[in-house]
């Protein structure tokens, strides 16, 4: 798993090393170039000055500084002929030869000076002044040199032509570059030192900033780790959280609300299921205990019959609970309602007869597109519910009606004592609007199971009140809702 802190430290660390390093290098190279250029400018000026002191008189090269004390600057120099012959050499260069010129003139380059010292040199080609013994003998030597290349300007020396052709010469001027290198070394050391200290300081700051910046995430992680069943109702306090984490806190709190709501529903369902199971268990136990304590054949037979019945009811209750938790779907196909309804009504013939219910079935060969098992479960629960909650002498009507090219099943029963507000809770688990019946063969799960199963196979269920009659309709959802302004949709 990637670490945010690791990635931040890697990127920021690289930035902290590379950017100041590149900046320092740029400063160093710029300073070095300026200093070398400055050095080269001085060397070139000195070379030109030296060239101005050279002259040719009747084929013989003469240097004015030989005739008197003339300041030609510090540093070694050489004069060469165009063929490379050393014509003149400064006193410090005895026994030492400066490198031959290469490339364009004037040329600059690093050289080694006597004693192994590093130096900088300039090579300059020039035409020496031709000496004509005339009225110009008294002109200062520097007046014979003009232009950047140090070439001799014949317009100013008309005597040169008269003196005949003059071979060009090369002057090499060198300087010890030790001071420049020392300055550059000091600059580099200063840059490296300052850069290192700055990088170290920035590294510490970045480390602290990353740790501090990620602290809210660590705190959130710890808070999330503390969420458990007993604390599920608590919410994350985003007041002190950074703005960037506010949506995270908001969504987490929403998620906790959803989880808490789901847990609450599960808990309520489990409580209700446990409660519903306790009563038949109590019946089972009390019946068995009383029969066992005062045994006689008649009582034992009646008790066994009761126990068998209770077992069947508990089995149906457990099946209903399993159906609610599973909700499996199969391949839908048109399922004829008539045989399913007839079969379910046959099973309820006893209570229907005992209650003298007015039963009417008008299905017109209607079908529902679903799985046969789902239709069986839905129809059975709707009819069981109708028979259960219709008082003696009441009426039940089962019919099919066309809905947008398909068919809907309608089960009506009445009179019922339901109110409009009860319709909202009619499909909730274990809801019983009227608990006045002592018979607990129905746990209040029938309509809940019917709704859950209907939703799985693409059927909708709605309940409406028509006066004192409850009307429950089942229709394929893909055909659209049935036309009834008072409907209470109950699809899953």
């Amino acid at each position: 798993m990637r670490s945010i802190a690791g990635r931040l430290l890697l990127v920021l660390g690289c930035g902290l090393v590379l950017l100041p390093g590149a900046g320092g290098a740029a400063v160093y190279w710029r300073a070095r170039a300026d200093m070398v250029r400055h050095l080269d400018d001085g060397l070139l000026a000195r070379a030109r000055l030296l060239a101005a002191f050279a002259s040719v008189d009747q084929g013989r090269v003469e240097f004015e500084f030989d005739s008197g004390p003339i300041d030609v600057g510090d540093g070694p120099f050489e004069f060469r002929s165009s063929s490379g012959e050393i014509l003149r050499r400064s006193p410090g260069l005895e026994g030492w030869t400066l490198p031959a010129p290469a490339g364009q003139m004037p040329g600059f380059g690093d050289v080694q000076l006597p004693g192994g010292r590093a130096g900088r040199a300039v090579w300059l080609t020039f035409d020496p002044r031709a000496e004509a013994r005339d009225e110009h003998d008294d002109e200062p030597p520097g007046a014979a040199v003009s232009g950047d290349e140090g070439e001799v300007d014949e317009a100013h020396h008309p005597s040169a032509a008269a003196a005949g052709a003059v071979e060009p010469m090369i002057v090499v001027a060198a300087v010890d570059r030790g001071p420049v290198d020392a300055a550059l070394g000091a600059l580099a050391a200063a840059l490296l030192g300052a850069g290192g200290v700055a990088a170290l300081g920035m590294g510490v700051l970045v480390l602290l900033a990353v740790r501090s910046g990620l602290a809210p995430l660590r705190r959130l992680g710890a808070e999330l780790g503390g969420v458990s069943g007993p604390t599920i109702s608590q919410r994350f306090d985003a007041r002190d959280a950074p703005r960037e984490l506010e949506p995270v806190y908001r969504e987490l709190n929403r998620m906790l609300e959803r989880v808490e709501s789901a847990l609450e529903r599960e808990r309520a369902f489990a409580d209700a299921a446990a409660h519903e199971l306790r009563t038949p268990l109590a019946e089972l136990r009390a019946t068995a205990e009383v029969a066992a304590r005062w045994p006689d054949l008649e009582r034992a037979t009646a008790a066994l019959r009761e126990i068998l019945q209770i077992g069947g009811e508990m089995e149906r209750l457990v099946e209903s609970l399993l159906l609610l938790s599973r909700g499996q779907a199969g391949s839908p196909l048109p399922v004829g309602l008539e045989p399913v309804v007839r079969g379910c009504l046959a099973r309820s013939a006893g209570p229907i007869g005992q209650k003298r219910l007015d039963l009417r079935v008008d299905l017109n060969a209607g079908t529902l597109r679903a799985t046969p098992e789902a239709v069986e479960i839905i129809v059975r629960n709707l009819l069981d519910n109708a028979v259960e909650y219709t008082p003696g002498g009441g009426a039940i009507r089962v019919s099919s009606v066309p809905v947008n090219g398909s068919c809907a099943l309608v089960v009506e029963n009445g009179p019922v004592t339901l109110a409009e507000r009860d319709l909202e809770r009619l499909f909730e688990p274990f809801f019983r609007a009227d608990r006045s019946r002592g018979d607990r063969s129905h746990a209040g799960l029938g309509l809940t199971v019917a709704r859950r199963v209907a939703a799985v196979v693409g059927l909708g269920i709605e309940a409406t009140l028509e006066g004192d009659r409850l009307r429950v309709r089942v229709w394929p959802v893909d055909t659209g809702a049935p036309e009834d302004p008072r409907r209470r949709p109950a699809t899953g």
Partner: protein
């Protein structure tokens, strides 16, 4: 002893009432809170066994109504609600005991017996009236150590009189405690029951324990008791 069972489960009504009747109790049964409240108001029950989730009127509301009206009958709540909050609420609203379904029938009977003893301020389960000993737990009666064979009604009468020994008990009170709402005893049923009981606990030449106070009722009293 006369009990009222307020329970909406038909099967529990039948099994509990049958079992309690076998134990010698007269049991009235109400299937909803409204009927239970009406029964409790008009009959001097020794113990009321009350379910909570009842049709028409909730069990707790029945209990609160009785207590508001000053009815001090001992109430045992018998319910599937097992949460601590439910138990605390039931006891604080005036119940004397709380039993969660499913339950053991023996435990139900034992708790009812305990409440009956509390009703008559009897701490011990064995009541002594002179040479007579009534074991209310084993429902066994001995006279000078010898077991006395009594019918269910005779035992119920003796137990009731033993709980109130020394007190004059009216015939109507005996009827109320021995017969349920669905029993229709003959007018002289109590006299005949007293007569048959007297024959069994007062052998010839023995101590007279059950005396008749003409115009008032009966009193069970033993020498030294």
């Amino acid at each position: 002893m006369h009990l009222l069972l307020v329970e909406d489960s038909r099967r529990l009504q039948e099994s509990i009432s049958q079992g309690l009747q076998r134990c010698g109790y007269a049991v009235d049964v109400a299937g909803d809170g409204e009927a239970g409240l009406r029964f409790a108001r008009h009959n001097p029950y020794d113990v009321i066994v009350l379910d909570l989730m009842l049709p028409r009127i909730d069990g707790l509301e029945v209990l609160r109504s009785l207590r508001r009206e000053g009815n001090g009958t001992h109430v045992l709540i018998l319910t599937a609600r097992d949460a601590v909050d439910d138990r605390v609420r039931g006891l604080r609203d005036g119940a004397d005991d709380y039993l969660v379904k499913p339950f053991a029938f023996d435990e139900l009977v034992a708790r009812i017996e305990a409440l009956v003893r509390r009703r008559y301020d009897a701490k011990a389960p064995v009541l002594c009236v002179g040479p007579l000993q009534v074991d209310t737990t084993a429902r066994r009666v001995t006279l000078d150590g010898a077991e006395v064979d009594l019918t269910r009604r005779e035992y119920g009468l003796l137990e009731y009189l033993a709980f109130r020994q020394g007190q004059v008990v009216k015939r109507e009170q005996i009827e109320d405690h021995l017969y349920g709402e669905r029993d229709f005893p003959m007018s002289n049923a109590v006299d005949r029951l007293v007569c048959s009981l007297r024959k069994k606990i007062e052998p010839a030449g023995g101590e007279r324990l059950l005396r008749t106070r003409r115009g008032l009722g009966y009193v069970l009293h033993g020498e030294g008791s």
